[in-house]
């Protein structure tokens, strides 16, 4: 039997292990397509960067936090909806950002009847709806205006200004390029309505409800929607403003995580991003190659609401004590990073109802707050609700809690999941105080007390009932126009009611901001934060 010599078996040592590890990473590298060899995905994203001055063509990538919800088309409650309405639709008139004065858009001119009970508008004759893949659609007539207003008023869509739309009783559409609206009583916030209502195509409303097609007259045509992911739009070659828009394509990506959106912007994947944390906006604003777009004219307000029926909050002195204790300036500086200003009343600076002196009625005064609370005596612990994972409200609530504790009022934070928060807001079921945003103060003042739910005189989240407040709200609403004589007096009366009732303690006006790369120029917006890229272009 031959003795076959064995080869010497090499003991396992570190060398083999390193080789094995190297093999492993190589495999992983290969699986990752090898970063050196083939084209880089990042490279392809940035390929689109074109020249500096306003030049035709190219595309812009937008990113926002919430996806389109077709059922909420007429409410401005998600970034998806505001993007579609901003790009694909036009409204009859358009407010400039810093004034509540209507400018022509689809309506070229309008005259208000002396008794304020009817308004007739001349319509642009040369406007067409979007047609099948790029062709010009059917022309825009007064019938479409009537259809849009009636749809807006339908409770099914629960639009914010539907009570004003419902007040329109008559539509004269005999002339295709002229429409006369008549209503039961003068409507001081009528132009708010006309600025808000998008002109929709009557033939495709059902498809709109199912999120399948969005036909409008706007600068861009709706191309596709991948739910929970992306919306794409293409240029409307037949737009009634000659040689606008500059851009060929616009896409919108749903990015729920603000950190992901920020990284996407900094790595060049997106050009304009909404919904970032104020601190990130502040830092990105200071970084070269990026700038911030401050949406003045579309202000929000952050406030501390109080349920006047809740134990401990029924006494107005307690609410005043809260108003004195809250450190509004610190919240504006540290939470909003200066993107806003302190107020006692909801109105932005340009609003006809804005009043400098009344705005400083409640400044931070711990002594007064303590004195008031001492008068009232011992109080139960008050629950403080806010939306659970919203960084701004969470920080504001913790600051307010500390402020009230200094004044001797103990408050326990009770974060609520967003749907539960909305449910308790609608049902006026908050057990104590709460903090969130409210809007609609950027229009004619009466709009706030008629539509915005927390301020609604008839039924509000604070269960605050006061005939005087209802009368003041109604008078303001029935003014023939925002700048009519006697308006100033009506608004002062309204402000006094708000300050006296103090069922909503304003903290500050919030200036919303988008972050954008320098290559995205000419980005516009409406009062409802709908993006307006009519004049936008890619700068090199």
């Amino acid at each position: 039997m031959t003795r076959s010599r064995l080869r010497t078996a090499t003991p396992v040592d570190r060398r083999t292990f390193v080789r094995a590890l190297g093999l492993g990473t190589l495999v992983a590298g290969l699986a990752a397509g090898g970063l050196t060899g083939c084209a880089s995905a990042v490279g392809e994203q940035k390929a689109g960067a074109a020249g500096g001055t306003a030049v035709r063509g190219g595309s812009l990538s937008l990113a926002g936090r919430t996806d389109l919800v077709p059922g909420n088309f007429f409410t401005t409650s998600s970034d998806g909806v505001t993007t579609v309405v901003g790009l694909v639709y036009d409204s009859l008139i358009r407010y400039p950002n810093d004034k509540v004065e209507p400018r022509p858009r689809l309506a070229t001119a309008w005259t208000l009847a002396p008794d304020g009970l009817s308004l007739s508008l001349d319509l642009r004759p040369d406007v067409t709806f979007h047609g099948r893949n790029g062709a010009a659609g059917r022309p825009f007539t007064s019938k479409d205006v009537e259809f849009s207003l009636r749809t807006y008023a339908d409770p099914r869509w629960s639009a914010q200004l539907r009570s004003t739309a419902a007040a329109i009783t008559g539509f004269d559409t005999s002339d295709p390029h002229r429409i006369t609206l008549s209503f039961a009583h003068p409507l001081s916030n009528l132009y708010d309505l006309l600025d808000t209502v998008p002109i929709v195509d009557s033939e495709s409303l059902d498809a709109l409800g199912r999120g399948e097609s969005f036909v409008g007259t706007g600068p861009f045509r709706f191309e596709s929607w991948t739910p929970n992911s992306r919306l794409t739009f293409v240029r409307n070659d037949h737009y009634w403003i000659p040689d606008r828009p500059y851009l060929d394509k616009v896409d919108f990506t749903v990015v729920t995580d603000p950190q992901a959106a920020l990284s996407g912007l900094r790595s060049g994947q997106y050009d304009v991003v909404g919904g970032l944390a104020y601190r990130d906006i502040q830092t990105i604003g200071g970084t070269s190659g990026f700038h911030t777009v401050t949406l003045d004219g579309a202000e929000l307000q952050t406030y501390v609401g109080a349920n006047v029926n809740a134990p401990g909050l029924s006494d107005p002195r307690v609410r005043q004590a809260i108003a004195y204790a809250v450190d509004r300036q610190r919240i504006v500086d540290e939470v909003l990073r200066g993107s806003g200003y302190v107020v006692n009343l909801p109105w932005p600076k340009y609003s006809p109802a804005y009043d400098e002196t009344r705005n400083s009625t409640f400044t931070r005064d711990l002594a007064k707050a303590k004195a008031l609370l001492a008068e009232v005596g011992p109080l139960p612990e008050i629950p403080y609700n806010f939306q659970a994972n919203d960084p701004v409200h969470q920080a504001t609530a913790q600051i307010v809690q500390a402020n009230l504790a200094e004044a001797g009022l103990t408050v326990t934070l009770a974060p609520l999941e967003s749907v539960q928060f909305t449910k308790q807001l609608i049902g006026a079921q908050f057990p104590g105080i709460w903090t969130t945003y409210h809007s609609w103060a950027q229009y004619t003042p009466a709009n706030l007390t008629v539509s915005a739910y927390p301020f609604n005189a008839q039924k509000n989240a604070s269960n605050y009932v006061s005939p005087a407040y209802q009368k003041a709200a109604d008078d303001a609403w029935k003014l023939p126009a925002a700048n009519a004589p006697g308006a100033r007096a009506a608004y002062d009366a309204l402000n006094d009611q708000l300050l006296e009732g103090l069922f909503l303690i304003e903290i500050g006006v919030v200036l919303r901001q988008w972050a954008a790369a320098d290559r995205a120029q000419g980005v516009g917006w409406t009062k409802r934060c709908e993006v307006d890229l009519t004049g936008a272009y890619r700068a090199v």
Partner: protein
Amino acid sequence: MTAVQDPPVAVPVAAPDVRDDVGVGVPRGRWFAALLRGRGLVGTVFVGVVVLAGLLAPVLAPYSPLQQIPGANLLPPDAAHWLGTDEVNRDVLSRVLYGTRVDLLVLVTAVPLGAVTGSLVGLLSSLSTASDVVAQRVFDILLAFPVLILGIALAAVAGPGLTTVILVIALAEIPIYGRLLRGAALRVREMPYVEAATVVGAGRWWVLRRHVLPNAIEPVGVQVTVSLAVAVFVEGAMSFIGIGIRPPDPSLGSIIADSVTALDANPGLALGPLAVVTALVLGFLLMAQALAAGRRT
């Protein structure tokens, strides 16, 4: 996975094993002895330091965890604040210390709750085939739901907060211990000393209480340490998506969650809690390895 049982075949004669060949049988040290040397000791020290830091929080913390220092918004680490301050002007070091307490509270309640319930269900279900099938299916369902989604649903029902975090972690542990104990019960029931007791007239309960339970403690010990490490992770994840510990109370997970947006302003906000979590997890893993090695010899 149901244990694979082969039909009982007459086991041929077993000869004395090597250990006997060495003369006197080597006595098996008490299982926690493994924690007092080498890897186990290092692990115990890590966990011990963290527990001490948590317990002594009131003494060690320079500020109250809720105290908002005017003007100190997101300061980087400096002499006054070793780990800097957070976005609501609070001292991060104090919040990390008090946060450790909250996490230890979660660990001390959630993991044992899940372990004990899971073990009992696992043991009781091994008594009769019917209950065994039912228990197995319940375990499948619990394992089928990812922990986070269970958390989101529970938080929506019971509201975010400490109790929800504890409930979610306990629920996630039940199937793991259930299956572990069921396996241990089936294994011990095959042993000759159980058969001898049954022959003499011992009932199922006697076998369970006297033989199965004591012998199942060891594998449970190893699993507890692993579960503790996972529990810290779940608390953090739930706080990240906003259904964890409610502000303003600090917890390691919620501090880490807030730190993600302030990495450039104050890295201390992230490093502080992450260091504690890493120490805890490393400690538990080392203990688990020591116990497992102890069991294997």
